[in-house]
């Protein structure tokens, strides 16, 4: 029954125009960034390498598809959560607003299965967005700019990763990025269980993300103890795959914290949804 309900959720997501908004937005945003880099990407790189170029010269195809994909990912890290929440935040509250939740809840499917099917469908939609972003950034980027070594600027300096050593990093990076976006999806679905209108959970999700990012970036000691446990702190964990040596402990810690967030959010949602009186 869980799989049947999940299939229903896919049908509903695919039929809603807003589901395509995310894909179109990613296409346009990435397209704009690629166009800008194609037009004047070297200026951007020069800005980054300016202080090194007094003594050193960088040879080779620096502005290649791998670097372009990296730049795209960095720029879009704040935008993708909104595109995900736009769809997943509506999965429960949208049904309540429409009245269909009471039709569903009187069927011989448990509320747990009903809600889990929404989490599954939301997760698949999130995966689709992340994969589409990857295809646009990496594949289209490489088609336009060619391939080559990747030059990454971290707070402790430049790291140049060899071309043959990059693909697995992107795969790992995208996997962690997906886990981060899945947390956003889980958060918005959980908030959706508390609301009977579509817009509330979406706005609240973005507000929480913004607040947590602010807490994370404020250099104030009072937040030091909570900062490592905020999921937004780990939303950029995908970048760890582009460090040398690979900070395995950091990556594992981020994965565990993100997974824990997902588990807690799902449990809270299940408890709320099962106890909820459906009066709409």
């Amino acid at each position: 029954m869980l799989l049947k309900s999940t299939r229903n959720e896919f049908i509903k997501i695919a039929a809603k125009p807003r589901s395509y908004l995310g894909l179109v937005a990613v296409t346009i945003l990435v397209g704009v960034i690629l166009f800008a880099l194609k037009a004047d990407g070297m200026s951007f790189i020069s800005f980054v390498t300016a202080s090194f170029e007094q003594t050193l010269s960088f040879e080779g195809n620096i502005l290649n598809g791998n670097l372009v994909a990296f730049i795209v990912l960095q720029m879009l890290v704040i935008h993708i959560p909104l595109l995900v929440a736009l769809v997943t935040g509506d999965l429960v509250s949208g049904e309540a607003a429409m009245g269909t939740i009471r039709m569903l809840a009187t069927k011989p499917i448990s509320r747990t299965q009903l809600l889990l099917s929404k989490f599954l469908a939301g997760g698949v939609y999130t995966l689709l967005i992340v994969v589409w972003l990857g295809l646009m950034a990496v594949v289209v980027g490489k088609l336009l700019f060619g391939s080559g070594d990747l030059m990454v600027l971290n707070s402790d300096g430049l790291v140049i990763l060899q071309e043959a050593d990059i693909n697995w990093r992107y795969i790992g990076g995208f996997a962690v990025a997906f886990l981060a976006m899945l947390t956003v999806s889980s958060l918005s679905i959980t908030l959706s269980c508390f609301s009977e209108n579509s817009i509330g959970p979406i706005v609240t999700t973005m507000a929480i993300i913004t607040l947590f990012i602010i807490i994370g970036t404020l250099d104030v000691s009072i937040f030091d103890s909570i900062r490592p446990f905020l999921f937004t702190t780990h939303m950029a964990a995908w970048r760890s795959f582009f460090e040398d040596p690979l900070p395995k402990d950091d990556i594992i810690r981020s994965v565990v914290i993100l997974l824990a967030h997902n588990v807690v959010l799902v449990l809270v949602a299940l408890y709320t949804f099962n106890k909820k009186d459906i009066t709409s």
């Binding site: 509903k12 429409m98 269909t100």
Partner: protein, 303 residues
């Protein structure tokens, strides 16, 4: 197999400080068309939602098919079809797609052919591919009925199914319910404000008021138990009126309309009244006595 399809015992539910249902009890037997009546705010919808596990009651017990929802929910709901208030659908999906979605989680596999046959049955033939956003209220009601029947349930719960329908639509729903009961032995719990409809099709009913059950029983018995409205059609209405007024001072004359005199009296007085009119050589064309549900209902809830 239990003959008691629905058993509600001492149901109570509050929303904050508001007691929506205080003490409701009734039983629906197999094959009943059961009228569930009450004024607005009496607790009908809350009771129905408790039966269907949309709301968790604070007190009381509910059994469907002799079983409690706890532990048997899926098994029970496979045999129940329902419309609660107005039927809501996915506006951005077609009628066919909507039915497909609900059928899939109702535990049945309904082919496109079966779905189209059902749409045809409820009068929506040719509209299967149309989006529900373009449907009128009446069409959505019909689609709601289709959704209710698609998985061939034994128990059907209908909350105000004729609301918003035109007279023909009301007749169609009435006939459908009667057919479901007589031909397929389905049990129907019907909540409606159309008292005339309940009077025609329900065999048993319960009336609730202010969250409590007031009276439950066979419709015919309840209506005939007390004073009746009697319509007498005579050839000499003035003479008949004088005879009634003179000989039966306890009988109330309600209305005189041409040759028809409507009186309110106890059932036991009718034979005597008939003899009196005959003895006075007043020709009686027809005597019809019944208790109107509407009057009964108003009397019950106002007490």
């Amino acid at each position: 197999m239990s003959d008691k399809m629905i058993e509600v015992r001492n149901l109570a539910k509050s929303f904050g400080s508001f007691e929506a249902v205080k003490d409701v009890s009734f039983t629906v037997n197999r094959g009943d068309v059961f009228g569930f009546l009450g004024p607005n705010g009496a607790g009908k919808s809350t009771t129905i939602r408790c039966i269907l596990s949309l709301i968790a009651p604070d007190k009381g017990e509910i059994f469907l098919f002799g079983k409690s929802m706890a532990g048997h929910r899926a098994e029970i709901l496979k045999k129940v079809g329902s419309i609660i208030e107005k039927p809501d659908f996915y506006k951005y999906l077609s009628a066919e797609r909507n039915l497909e979605i609900f059928a899939r989680i109702s535990g049945v596999h309904s082919s496109k052919k079966e779905i189209r046959a059902m749409l045809d049955f409820v009068g929506l033939a040719g509209r299967e591919r149309d989006k529900v956003s373009g449907f009128s209220h009446g069409m959505k009601q019909r689609l709601g009925i289709a959704q209710t029947l698609l998985h061939n349930p034994d128990l059907i719960i209908l909350d105000e199914p004729t609301t918003g329908l035109d007279p023909q639509g009301i007749i169609d729903i009435r006939n459908l319910i009667l057919r479901l009961q007589s031909e397929q032995n389905k049990t129907v719990l019907l909540s409606s404000h159309q008292l005339s409809e309940i009077e025609i099709i329900a065999n048993r009913m319960v009336i609730i008021n202010q969250g409590r059950s007031v009276i439950e029983g066979e419709v015919a018995q309840l209506l005939n138990a007390e004073e009746l409205i009697v319509n007498i059609e005579v050839d000499q209405p003035d003479k008949a009126l004088s005879a009634i007024t003179l000989n039966f001072p306890d009988v109330r004359v309600h209305e005189v309309d041409g040759s028809r005199i409507q009186i309110i009296t106890d059932k036991s007085r009718i034979p005597e009244l008939t003899v009196t009119l005959t003895n006075q050589h007043i020709g009686i064309y027809a005597i019809e006595s019944k208790r109107k549900l509407e009057d009964y209902f108003i009397k019950i809830v106002s007490n």
